[in-house]
């Protein structure tokens, strides 16, 4: 079984932290620095789960989630999406779930919680 996690995140500190955390558990992290690149990578690569920041520099995470769910790559309609955000705006969590995300996590990301939530969808390799 594959173990590719795509993280769409523009903040390099968060990217490094999550990379270290997930790779320590044997996952392979694919990295996208903005929303459009994230959609492109999700459509072109084999991805088992997507971690999605909401506050992205081009299209926001809600739009990314909507595009992923509507993608012609049918598998993306079912790929788990975990939204991750600093919830700086009202109703971020509600909007993320409405846009098609499965789970919402607020920053700072607790690594143990991240492991647990990722493992719930993609068993540890």
């Amino acid at each position: 079984m594959s173990n590719n996690i795509l993280y769409i995140e523009d903040n390099p500190d968060n990217m490094r932290l999550v990379q270290r955390a997930l790779e320590s558990r044997g996952y392979h992290l694919l990295q996208a620095k903005n929303g459009l690149l994230g959609v492109q990578m999700a459509e072109s690569e084999s991805v088992d789960l997507i971690l999605l920041d909401i506050n992205l520099p081009d299209i926001d995470g809600y739009e990314v989630a909507r595009r992923l769910r509507a993608s012609s790559k049918r598998q993306l309609a079912l790929t788990p999406i975990i939204a991750v955000t600093a919830n700086a705006l009202k109703g971020d969590a509600e909007k993320a779930l409405e846009a098609g995300c499965d789970v919402y996590m607020s920053k700072p990301i607790n690594i143990r919680e991240l492991w647990a939530r990722v493992e719930a969808f993609v068993p540890t390799p």
């Binding site: 955390a21 705006l89 009202k90 969590a93 607020s106 607790n110 690594i111 919680e113 939530r117």
Partner: protein
């Protein structure tokens, strides 16, 4: 003068150690809260628990077990040593024999938040911090503003716009800059975090610095002292961010390690939330280790409108360990209990405090409590700060 036996800070998640002489927030490795650890052996050898009882009243009489190193940095406004009151009329009404309330409304700024902010602001001052920022559902903002004023620090506060007027006004009176947010405390937290990062303000959000929980834990010391160094059977506690619950459990661990408790019997910890925002209750019922973010959080008890605590995993661990429970109550039963506490016992409780009575009644119905057990409710603040709510029509 050196007054603390603080040894180091330790991550509650990965156990990594950090120096207390530097400004710390949360664990940079696993992003869990940091907790203070003390050299308890020398404390047990050099401090007599009964001597503490005879010191000048207030939270700082426990200074060996608090994080401020130099006594000159202790900011004191009279916090701590709140009364543990019997509830004779409610006992009779509910068929109980040992029902008490720890009434935190007599703290400075009218709530238990004074304890945590006294510790956090004192430590911030000691570490050379000059400006502090907080997201708050209300009372923590008022407390931070007061202690920051006393310490000579600048204060910046993000509050939901429907925060009780008293909290907004007391914060502004104390010189804090107050920003009203169209959202919940989680939204305020996001904004405060951004401002803290961009402008170098020190963020004293719940569990995002290591010291508020130290002030709150003193509630546990005081309970042990009040019960002659034993602990009650059940503690019913309202849970928003969970600092008090986590703090008391930490206090019990420390007291046990010090050998100051008469026996090893611990209380069952009951976490009370409102049914419009009950992430801990939901997680507890599922046997989970973390909470899901609670959607569309709503309750009149503004201190309970916390969709997900940063320390959710510690709260849940402590409840499980104590063989306690978590229970959600409706706003209607909170208001009814608030009236009952005032009319029967003369205690005008905050809605969060009244929620503990509502929970008690439900637990009696469920048969979860025995009538003879020593039960402590926590009233976390004064009802006078919530005068715009329906009970005060």
């Amino acid at each position: 003068m050196t007054s603390s036996f603080l040894s180091h800070l330790e991550c509650s998640g990965c156990s990594e150690k950090f120096a207390h002489a530097e400004i710390q927030t949360f664990c940079p490795i696993c992003q869990s809260p940091l907790l203070c650890r003390y050299d308890l052996k020398p404390v047990s050898q050099s401090v007599d628990r009964n001597e503490i009882t005879h010191r000048k009243k207030g939270m700082w009489r426990w200074h060996e077990l608090l994080p401020v190193i130099n006594t000159e940095n202790q900011i004191f406004l009279g916090e701590g040593d709140t009364p543990l009151l019997s509830l004779p009329h409610l006992e009779k009404e509910l068929g109980l024999f040992n029902l008490l309330v720890k009434d935190e409304s007599s703290n400075p700024t009218g709530s238990f938040k004074a304890r945590g902010l006294a510790a956090a602001i004192s430590k911030a001052k000691e570490l050379g911090v000059e400006k502090v920022i907080i997201p708050t559902a209300g009372n923590a903002g008022g407390a931070m503003a007061a202690y920051a004023a006393r310490a000579g620090l600048r204060a910046y506060i993000f509050m939901p716009k429907d925060t009780p007027f008293a909290n907004i006004e007391e914060s502004r009176m104390a010189g804090a800059e107050v920003i009203l947010v169209d959202g919940l405390i989680s939204d305020a937290a996001g904004m405060a975090g951004i401002k803290a990062r961009e402008e170098g303000w020190f963020d004293v959000s719940t569990f995002k610095e290591p010291y508020r929980v130290e002030g709150k834990k003193v509630m546990g010391y005081e309970l042990a002292e009040s019960f002659d160094w034993q602990l009650p059977d059940v503690i019913i506690y309202p849970t928003g961010g969970g600092t008090g619950l986590v703090g008391m459990w930490k206090a019990f661990d420390e007291l046990e390690a010090l050998g100051w408790l008469e026996n090893k019997k611990r209380p069952r910890m009951v976490s009370v939330q409102a049914d419009g925002c009950a992430p801990v209750v939901k997680a507890f019922n599922q046997g989970a280790s973390f909470c899901d973010f609670w959607l569309n959080a709503h309750t009149i008890a503004s201190g309970l409108r916390v969709p997900k605590s940063f320390a959710d995993h510690i709260i849940l661990k402590d409840i499980y360990e104590s063989q306690g429970t978590a229970i959600a109550v409706s706003d209607e039963t909170i208001l009814e209990s608030q009236r009952q506490l005032a009319a029967m016992e003369g205690i005008f409780a905050a809605p969060e405090g009244a929620a503990t009575l509502a929970a008690l009644k439900e637990l009696i119905k469920q048969g979860w409590l025995q009538p003879e057990e020593r039960i402590v409710l926590f009233n976390t603040g004064s009802g006078l700060k919530y005068l715009e709510y329906p009970n005060q029509e």
